[in-house]
């Protein structure tokens, strides 16, 4: 943190990303952006609008629709001294570049005995809610948390979106920054200058005394709304946002659970095999003697993301799903 007071103002999540990228390009000549429609069009979500005009097509680069080529280009550029920021438009598209991410990017440093440094940032957009159906809506963060060598970040608000992206780009390891497309219009206080939100540090978003909800990405807002509802049940809910899933700040989470004695993990990804299972396992390893109830999980059901608005509304977890699960854990009928 800087010691001087930073000028802040309310702006949107998408502007926070755009501003971070502009300031990173300004600050470091080795930073460049590339991806599909990131340059002339400014990104399909507007996260690089105007940057090609400002920094030129050498530093803000439109690529063909070739995800393996894009990620590979970042790897080769990073291995030779540059600091690439690449966009994989929708997270679902990682399916066509998994080898470059998992077998090349993540492992190169280790395989080469520490002699390769790969400061690659991959930005991508996850999440349902816009009726984009099964191939444009997934939350696949668990795949990458499972791969040693990668770091995985999921911001939940504009302030973290900018600060975590800056930290990711300045980090010397490969980082996936996974934003949720439903949050792009979210407003929040964002400092005007460059700042970092450190990787691997969770944040207690709401302090409470007798229940902990660990929530990621968009589920943080849903957890906060659930916490308000649960107040009527006599619960004083603490909400913890890990912010970085790999490395995971289990200490902050366990500290909260030792205080509240009950917990639930909420994410938008499919529940089975999701990162929630890992967090729950670590909670029982770190705080078993403090637990008064089984640790719950909220996630999407075990199906692809449906298209129909009627079905998608059932699919994506929300405040009601969280409230229901908390009450179930506590043995209360809904």
């Amino acid at each position: 943190m800087t010691t001087t007071a930073q000028r802040t103002r309310t702006t949107s999540y998408v502007n926070a990303i755009l501003e971070a990228q502009r300031q990173l390009l300004t600050a470091d000549p080795n930073v460049f952006l590339c991806g599909e429609d990131v340059a002339l069009y400014g990104g399909v979500f507007g996260t690089s609008r105007g940057l090609m005009a400002e920094f030129g097509p050498q530093r803000v680069v439109d690529t063909p629709i070739s995800e393996s080529g894009i990620v590979g280009m970042a790897i080769g550029a990073a291995a030779t001294g540059l600091r690439p920021v690449v966009e994989i438009m929708f997270m679902d598209f990682v399916g066509v570049c998994m080898d470059q991410i998992v077998n090349q990017l993540a492992k190169m440093r280790y395989m080469f005995g520490g002699k390769a440094t790969l400061p690659v940032t991959i930005r991508t957009m996850a999440g349902g809610g816009r009726n984009m159906a099964a191939q444009h809506s997934q939350s696949l963060e668990a795949w990458f948390c499972h791969v040693p060598g990668l770091k995985v970040v999921m911001p939940s608000n504009p302030y973290d979106a900018k600060g975590l992206l800056v930290a990711a780009v300045r980090d010397d390891d490969p980082v996936l920054v996974i934003d949720n497309k439903m949050q792009l219009g979210m407003q929040g206080e964002v400092p005007e200058d460059l700042y970092e939100v450190p990787l691997g540090k969770a944040r207690v978003v709401r302090e409470g005394t007798n229940f902990t909800i660990v929530a990621t990405s968009r589920m943080v807002q849903e957890a906060l709304a659930a916490a308000e509802q649960l107040g009527a049940d006599g619960l004083n809910v603490e909400v913890v946002d890990p912010r970085t899933l790999q490395p995971l700040d289990i200490e902050t989470i366990a500290t909260s659970v030792r205080k509240t004695h009950r917990a639930l993990v909420a994410h938008e990804a499919v529940r089975f095999g999701g990162i929630g299972g890992e967090i729950v396992a670590q909670i029982q390893e770190e705080a078993f003697d403090y637990l008064d109830a089984p640790v719950g999980r909220v996630g999407a059901p075990f199906s692809p993301v449906p298209f129909s608005p009627a079905l998608e509304a059932l699919y994506v977890p929300n405040r009601d799903t969280i409230v229901t699960e908390v009450r179930r854990i506590l043995g209360k009928q809904v």
Binding site: S66, S68, G76, N103, Y110, D171
Partner: protein, 327 residues
């Protein structure tokens, strides 16, 4: 044009690079068969003219990406036998501290961006290094080695398209040895000449005799000069042959090819061919050539002794180098 001395020096250099690859690989094969080297080795014997002919044009600032059959590329780039054998043995003194092995051997200081266990893993990385060369305003180039098998991977096609589109200083060097693992080329692709695929991406496609180191050297020189001039990539297909099997040594008496075919290709052994050329040209007598072999074998023996005696990595190394900033 080079003068007489420089020309002779180049010929000796090409010869030595090929002999170093052959000796390194033959000894590695023996050590694998003796059970001294663990894991799998994909040996480069028979294909030496390709690595030597191309890499003789490069400095340490020019990069290469390699394949699962990568020792030859690193040797040609100036790889240190001691560090290479130590890596193959899984020793801490190896190029990758024993954590990569044969399939991931690398020396970034020499511009060797790694052997690669994934067929087709290298081309996207190669265009990244080439992009970086251009971005940083250098004249350096990247040579991307890959096989006929990898030419069927989508990554090759993505990289070729992007390289041509961005006019990147990269040379796609296809080592067409006639087999994707144990599958003959005519059973894995309908084209005969992989260079034909260059037209699909708007770059020149050149075919060269991959057993003739001078032909490779000349064709690579044109492609590399073109890349350094900023005129973009070239696909250089080198027709070559793998004397050994896909993995390990054997190579004869196998189900996927006739011994007679192997013997035919062995008549065009790139080193034998080149040595007779050197003798005819009066550059290097048979005795002088034999002296090079003797010297390189001695270098290999010294390195093998070093590697055998070197310690394995300490237990703590297991979790080191996963991240640059410890988590």
């Amino acid at each position: 044009m080079v003068d007489g001395n420089e020309e002779e020096q180049l010929l000796r250099d090409l010869h030595r690079r090929m002999v170093r690859i052959r000796v390194f690989e033959e000894e590695a094969g023996k050590l694998m068969e003796q059970g001294k080297i663990p894991g799998a080795l994909h040996l480069y014997v028979g294909e030496e003219a390709v690595a030597a002919g191309v890499i003789a044009h490069l400095s340490a600032e020019d990069q290469i990406t390699s394949t699962h059959r990568g020792h030859g590329h690193l040797v040609a780039k100036g790889g240190d036998f001691r560090l290479m054998y130590a890596e193959l043995f899984g020793k801490a003194a190896g190029y990758c501290k024993g954590k990569g092995g044969s399939m991931h051997i690398a020396d970034l200081d020499l511009g060797m961006l790694g052997a690669n266990g994934i067929v087709g893993g290298g081309p996207p990385i190669a265009i990244g290094a080439a992009f970086s060369n251009k971005y940083r305003g250098t004249q350096h180039v990247t040579c991307c080695f890959f096989g006929d098998g990898a030419s069927n991977e989508g990554t090759f096609h993505e990289a070729a398209n992007m390289a041509a589109l961005f006019k990147l200083p990269v040379i796609f060097v296809c080592e067409n040895n006639g087999f994707g693992e144990f599958t003959r080329q005519d059973r894995h692709q309908a084209v005969r000449d992989i260079a034909d695929r260059a037209a699909g991406y708007g770059m020149p496609g050149v075919i060269v005799d991959g057993m003739d180191v001078l032909a490779v050297h000349e064709a690579a020189g044109e492609a590399i000069a073109r890349a350094r001039r900023g005129e973009g990539p070239t696909l250089l297909e080198c027709k070559t042959y793998r004397f050994f099997d896909h993995v390990g040594v054997r190579g004869m008496g196998v189900v996927y090819r006739e011994d007679s075919e192997v013997l035919e290709w062995r008549k065009r052994d790139p080193i034998t061919l080149f040595e007779s050329h050197l003798a005819d040209a009066g550059v290097m007598s048979a005795d002088a050539a034999a002296a090079v072999w003797l010297e390189v074998r001695s270098e290999a023996q010294d390195a093998i002794t070093f590697a055998e005696q070197a310690p394995y990595p300490a237990s703590a190394a297991l979790l080191e180098d996963v991240y640059a900033t410890p988590v």
